[in-house]
C-alpha cells in the first residue's frame, strides 16, 4: 500500500474548509461554557445588585462597603471565568474531550475569548450601567464620580482579559495566579494614580460630569490595551504546536 492509495473520500466531508472558522461550532462551545457558569454569574449579579444598593444608601460607610463589594464582585468574575473555562478545563482533562471534537485550535481560542468576553460583559455592563444610574439618581453622590467609575471599571475589564490571556497562552495555574496577583497590585496603583490626576481627582467630587482629556486618554488606552491583548493572544495561540 502506498500513500497514493489512501482514500480520497475525505473530499466528500461536509463543513467549513481547512483554515476557515466554523462559527456554529464556536457558538456551541460558547453556549457550553455559559451552561456551566450561568448559576455563578446569576449569583454575582445578585451580589453586584447588593453592592449597588449599599452604594445608594446615605452614609459614607455604606458607600465604601458597596464600592468595595462591587469591585470585588467584578474582579472575582474575571478570575472565576478564566479559572473555570480555561485552567480547570485543562486540569480536569475535559480539554481532551473538547479537542477530540471537530474543533481547530483557532476555533477553540476564539470560543474561549468570546465566551469570557460575553459572560463577563453581561454582569459588567449591568453593574456599570447600575453604577452610573445610582450615582446619577442619588443626590448624595456627586455626578463627577461617573468618569472615575467608568475608568476604574474598564481597568477591571482589562485586568480580567489579562488573566484570561495568560491562562490561555500559558495553560498554567501558576502563571494564571501570577497574573491575578499582578492584576490586583496594578489595580491598587492604578486607583492611586488616577485619583491623583488633577483633572480627574479634582472633579470627581464635583456636581458635574467632566470628561477631561486625561480621562478620555485613559479610557482609550484601556480599550487599546484590551485590543492588543486580544491580538497577541490569537497570535501566540496560532504559534502553538501542542494542544494537549
Amino acid at each position: 500500500m502506498t500513500p497514493s492509495t489512501l482514500t480520497t473520500a475525505a473530499a466528500a466531508t461536509s463543513g467549513p474548509s481547512a483554515g476557515s472558522m466554523d462559527f456554529a461550532m464556536i457558538k456551541r462551545l460558547v453556549l457550553k461554557d455559559w451552561y456551566f457558569l450561568r448559576g455563578p454569574i446569576l449569583g454575582y449579579l445578585a451580589a453586584g445588585a447588593l453592592a449597588l444598593a449599599l452604594v445608594s444608601q446615605a452614609g459614607e460607610g455604606t458607600f465604601f462597603a458597596g464600592s468595595i463589594l462591587l469591585i470585588t464582585v467584578l474582579i472575582t468574575i474575571g478570575i472565576h471565568l478564566a479559572m473555570a473555562t480555561v485552567v480547570e478545563e485543562r486540569k480536569n482533562q475535559t480539554l481532551a474531550f473538547v479537542m477530540s471534537l471537530p474543533v481547530s485550535p483557532a476555533e477553540y481560542t476564539t470560543a474561549k475569548i468570546f465566551a469570557n468576553l460575553l459572560i463577563f460583559l453581561l454582569p459588567w455592563l449591568a453593574l456599570l450601567v447600575g453604577s452610573f444610574a445610582v450615582i446619577a439618581g442619588n443626590a448624595a453622590l456627586p455626578d463627577g464620580l461617573i468618569p472615575f467609575t467608568g475608568i476604574v471599571l474598564l481597568e477591571i475589564f482589562a485586568s480580567s482579559f489579562l488573566i484570561l490571556a495568560v491562562a490561555l497562552i500559558s495553560e498554567s495555574q501558576s502563571w494564571t495566579i501570577g497574573a491575578i496577583v499582578f492584576g490586583n497590585l496594578f489595580f491598587q496603583g492604578f486607583l492611586y494614580y488616577v485619583s491623583h490626576i488633577p483633572s480627574i481627582g479634582q472633579t470627581m467630587n464635583g456636581p458635574r460630569i467632566v470628561w477631561s482629556p486625561a480621562a478620555v486618554n485613559l479610557l482609550v488606552g484601556e480599550i487599546v490595551s484590551i485590543a492588543l491583548m486580544v491580538g497577541l493572544t490569537f497570535w501566540l495561540q496560532s504559534r502553538k504546536t501542542d494542544f494537549l
Binding site: T5, Q93, A96, L101, P102, L244
Partner: protein, 298 residues
C-alpha cells in the same frame, strides 16, 4: 478496497527528554490495530499527532485522506476518540453530553446511543460525577461510538480500571466492534487487552516502532525452543534468533522467524529439542523490547 485509514511516514517529534523518531505506521481500513508499548514509549504522543492535537516536527500524517494537522477539523468529523486522560464534565449529565455531541455530529445515531446506554448499563440522566471510573469510560465510549465514526482511536481506555470494570469495558467493546466493519486503533501497555480485540499489532518502544504485523503472524512466527545441548556441541547460527540463553546443558532459544526446520538444524548439531513453545503476546513483546534494547546498548 485496499486503502489506508491512517498512514504515518517518517514522523518525528522532539521534546527535551523524549523523541518520537521516524514513525512509519499503516492502518488498513477495516482493521483493528493494537498499539502496544510500555508507559512512556510514545503511544499517546503518536495518537495525539494522529488527532492533530500535537504537531509533528518531521514527516507526514494522513488520516482518512486528510493531511494532519492542517485538516484536523475535517478528519475529526469521522474520528471517535477515547483516551485515558479524556474526562467528561462532572457537573453535567450523560444526557447533556449526548445532546451536545449530537448537535455537532449530523450522523449521530440516537437509537444506537440508547442501545449502548442499555448495554453499558448507563443512565443518561445521571451526572458524570456520580459515575464510577468504569462507567465514565463506557460513557466516553458511547459518545464516541454513537456518532458512527469511520475511525475509532482508543488511547489506553482500560488503564486505571479495576479488573471487573476492565473486563466489562473490554467485553462491551468486543461486542460493539463485532457489530460492523470499523477501523480501530487501540493503544495499551496491557497486551492481554490488545490481544483480545485486535487483528493487527504494532509494538513501540522508546519512541520507535519495533514491529508491526497481523496478530496471527506474530503468534505464528515467535517461538521459544528448549534444548539440551551436549558440552562439546555448538549451536548453528540461524537467522531470526532474538535471544539465546544457556545454563549448563540446557538452552532456551527465542526466535521471531520460526520455521519447522529450526528444530531439525539443532538436532543435527547434536542438541535434543525438548519443546517448541508458542508465546503469548506479552512474552513476544517483552522479548522483542529486551532484545532490541540490548542490541542498541551493545
Amino acid at each position: 478496497m485496499s486503502d489506508l485509514a491512517v498512514h504515518f511516514s517518517g514522523v518525528g517529534k522532539t521534546y527535551p527528554h523524549f523523541t518520537l523518531d521516524d514513525i512509519h505506521l499503516e492502518l488498513p481500513t477495516g482493521s483493528i490495530q493494537g498499539f502496544i508499548g510500555a508507559n512512556g514509549a510514545g503511544k499517546s504522543t503518536t495518537l495525539r499527532i494522529l488527532m492533530g492535537l500535537v504537531h509533528q516536527d518531521r514527516g507526514t500524517v494522513q488520516v482518512l485522506g486528510h493531511s494532519m494537522p492542517a485538516s484536523q477539523v475535517a478528519a475529526k468529523r469521522d474520528i471517535g476518540y477515547v483516551s485515558e486522560d479524556l474526562r467528561l464534565y462532572k457537573a453535567a449529565t450523560l444526557a447533556w453530553h449526548m445532546s451536545f455531541v449530537r448537535s455537532i455530529f449530523p450522523g449521530w445515531d440516537a437509537a444506537y446511543a440508547e442501545e449502548l446506554a442499555r448495554r453499558f448499563d448507563l443512565k443518561p440522566e445521571q451526572k458524570i460525577k456520580g459515575l464510577s471510573h468504569g462507567q465514565r469510560v463506557k460513557a466516553a465510549l458511547l459518545l464516541a461510538l454513537a456518532r458512527r465514526p469511520r475511525l475509532l482511536v482508543l488511547d489506553e481506555p482500560t488503564t486505571g480500571l479495576d479488573p471487573v470494570a476492565r473486563h466489562e469495558v473490554l467485553g462491551a467493546l468486543t461486542e460493539v466492534l463485532a457489530d460492523e466493519r470499523r477501523t480501530v486503533l487501540f493503544s495499551s501497555h496491557n497486551t492481554l487487552d490488545v490481544e483480545q480485540i485486535s487483528d493487527r499489532i504494532t509494538f513501540i518502544d522508546r519512541g520507535r516502532i519495533l514491529d508491526s504485523d497481523d496478530k496471527e503472524s506474530f503468534l505464528d512466527r515467535w517461538r521459544r525452543v528448549r534444548l539440551e545441548v551436549p558440552a562439546n556441541a555448538v549451536l548453528p547460527e540461524v537467522p531470526g534468533i532474538v535471544d539465546a540463553t544457556r545454563s549448563g546443558r540446557l538452552a532456551v532459544v527465542t526466535t521471531d522467524h520460526y520455521q519447522p526446520d529450526l528444530a531439525a538444524a539443532y538436532q543435527k548439531a547434536g542438541a535434543t529439542v525438548f519443546a517448541v513453545e508458542a508465546m503469548t503476546l506479552e512474552e513476544i513483546f517483552v522479548a522483542d523490547v529486551r532484545s532490541r534494547r540490548e542490541r542498541k546498548a551493545a
